[in-house]
């Protein structure tokens, strides 16, 4: 079953900006789906329309088969959303924010209180339940928004940059939590600028750019598009100039002890190290210059920019 089905979705703002140019998108039930794109690509507009915060110009949206027009009560009751920006009353106590949200979904007060306790404990906020939300740290506020989005047990959860501005330790614990929620059957749509996050967690992805979906496939297939990968190599000995390698074209000397090499898909790291060794260059350590998804993303979105500039 499809958790989300978007067809021919258009949005033109009053300013004349065409944010969405007729996108089609399908997300399967149980998926962990990445919706990626540069700033201003149309991701948040798309999420805003699904959530009922933005009026669309035309097109259809269905959540688990229910139209957001004709069956908006059913459709919305299956959806939970964590927006990019904090959108709660910062003067309200943490517990009240989550319980009230359950109430808006028609969850009776007794059940709402129980669910609130469950999610606040799971997200490490229970001891802050009586604090005003404005007293929480940035990371706690993000977790509060996740608890609020989950309190009515949605089947589809949209996370719009949920880990923005969160330190790495907390980010990793949030990843574990999201994976756990997904394992329990909740379909998740994630937008993020941390592509490492999307690569690690998502099974499928779509890239949206300038209001169009320019790629929609499984993460594996997406990464296969990467026909080169760039590595940074740290060398044992001093190097005056970039070495000339027969099989590798793009070699940049970064400093006296490091170089950057683009490795084509047909060659392996062993080939590279072997060729360097023939020139008496010893590699001590190495790392990916960027994560693989980031490289695909940059290539695809740069192509679109070039095409529109032309």
């Amino acid at each position: 079953m499809l958790a989300l089905e978007i067809s021919n979705l258009h949005k033109t703002y009053a300013s004349g900006l065409q944010a969405l140019k007729g996108i089609d998108l399908q997300v399967e039930e149980g998926d962990f789906f990445a919706l990626l794109g540069p700033n201003g690509a149309g991701k948040s507009t798309c999420i805003g329309i699904i959530s009922g915060l933005v009026n669309r110009t035309r097109g259809n949206v269905r959540i688990f088969g229910h139209s957001i027009d004709d069956e908006f009560i059913l459709a919305k009751s299956l959806l939970g959303s964590v927006p990019q920006e904090f959108n709660f009353n910062t003067f309200e106590p943490v517990e009240e924010i989550v319980t009230n949200q359950a109430g808006f979904y028609g969850v009776p007060a007794r059940v709402a209180r129980k669910e609130t306790e469950h999610y606040l404990k799971q997200l490490g906020l229970w001891q802050h339940r009586r604090s005003q939300a404005r007293r929480l740290s940035g990371g706690m506020k993000r977790r509060l928004m996740i608890a609020r989005a989950l309190v009515h047990k949605p089947r589809l959860l949209i996370l719009d940059e949920p880990t923005a501005g969160v330190d790495i330790e907390l980010r990793r614990s949030m990843w574990d939590f999201m994976e756990q929620i997904n394992d329990q059957g909740t379909t998740i749509i994630l937008t993020t600028h941390y592509l490492e996050e999307a690569e690690r967690m998502c099974r499928n992805a779509a890239i949206i750019d300038q209001g169009d979906i320019i790629l929609n496939s499984s993460m594996k297939r997406l990464l296969k598009q990467l026909n080169t990968e760039t590595f940074v190599l740290y060398l044992r000995d001093h190097l005056e100039q970039a070495p000339q390698l027969e099989s590798f074209n793009k070699i940049i000397r970064l400093d006296h002890h490091s170089i950057e090499v683009e490795v084509p898909e047909r060659l392996s790291i062993n080939d590279l190290i072997h060729e360097l060794e023939t020139q008496n260059i010893v590699v001590e350590r190495m790392r990916n210059k960027a994560n693989r998804l980031e490289e695909v993303f940059v290539k695809l979105t740069t192509k679109t920019d070039d095409a529109s500039a032309a």
Binding site: Y13, A14, G48, S51, G52, L53, V54, N55, F72, I73, L74, A75, K76, S77, L79, S81, P83, E85, F86, N87, F88, N89, T90, F91, E96, N100, Q101, G103, F104, Y105, G106, V107, P108, A109, R148, H152
Partner: protein, 256 residues
């Protein structure tokens, strides 16, 4: 389904009541202090020199109007500030994203305004007992007019908040429209004192109908026919309710 909407309505209402109750020093006390000053200055000090109006002591004459003024101002202010605040800090999205029909949102905010208006009205009435003797001609009329008037101004506050783009916009209507209409709505004088022309002009002021029907409930005397007054109030409620609902459905001011 109806139960779900009922829970949502109760949640919005409770949230609204908690909002003003949490800051009662800012929301309940100031109108009570202000009306106490009106009673001291206009009722006691100046009122003694005025003597009687409409066959009663001046302080007894102005008492219902002062209570009504508090109800009007507070039901309006509650909704305009709460709804605009929710728009400004974007927590209105909590309701927009949930399966809450617009009419439930509307009724929830309206009830919050009514509860504050009536709470302040009760507090002001209690304060008035320090200055006048308590007497009610018809308690049902008092209750009915108080409820209808607070509904009407809660709706007006909501419409103001929907169109407001800044905090200045939520003070313009109360300052330049609501206050003058309230003062000219027969709180401090009977329109029978006015020349014929100004009596006719005064009939165009909807607040006159509310103040007079409220005074009828307390004192049994009014410049306006009671039934006419109730019909006028109901007409404005129906009008503002329809406008509010249409604006919410269109997403005016809250959806791009």
């Amino acid at each position: 389904m109806l139960y779900r909407f009922w829970v949502a309505y109760l949640t919005i209402t409770r949230k609204e009541i908690m909002r003003f109750a949490r800051i009662w020093v800012q929301t309940i006390i100031p109108p009570v202090v202000m009306v106490a000053l009106y009673f001291i200055i206009f009722g006691n000090l100046i009122g003694q020199r005025i003597g009687e109006m409409d066959g009663m002591l001046y302080i007894d004459f102005i008492m219902p109007g002062l209570v009504m003024m508090s109800i009007i101002t507070n039901s309006y202010t509650n909704v305009v500030s709460s709804f605009y605040g929710a728009k400004y800090s974007r927590h209105i999205e909590e309701m927009q994203i949930a399966p809450v029909p617009d009419i439930v949102i509307l009724l929830g905010f309206m009830t919050g305004g009514v509860v504050r208006g009536i709470s302040v009205g009760i507090a002001v009435t209690l304060v008035s007992l320090l200055f006048t003797e308590f007497s009610i001609h018809n308690p049902l009329i008092v209750l009915l007019v108080a409820l209808l008037t607070s509904c009407l101004f809660a709706l007006a506050g909501l419409i103001n908040a929907i169109f407001a783009n800044s905090f200045d916009d939520i003070t313009i209507i109360p300052t330049f429209v609501l206050t003058p209409l309230t003062y000219l709505g027969g709180i401090f004088y009977s329109i029978k004192m006015l020349p014929e022309f100004w009596q006719q002009v005064s009939l165009g002021n909807p607040i006159l109908y509310m103040v007079n029907s409220f005074r009828y409930g307390f004192r049994g005397t009014s410049d306006i026919d009671l039934l006419t007054a109730i019909i006028v109030i109901l007409f404005f409620i129906a009008l503002l309710f329809s406008v509010s609902l249409t604006l919410l459905a269109r997403g005016t001011g809250i959806r791009q």
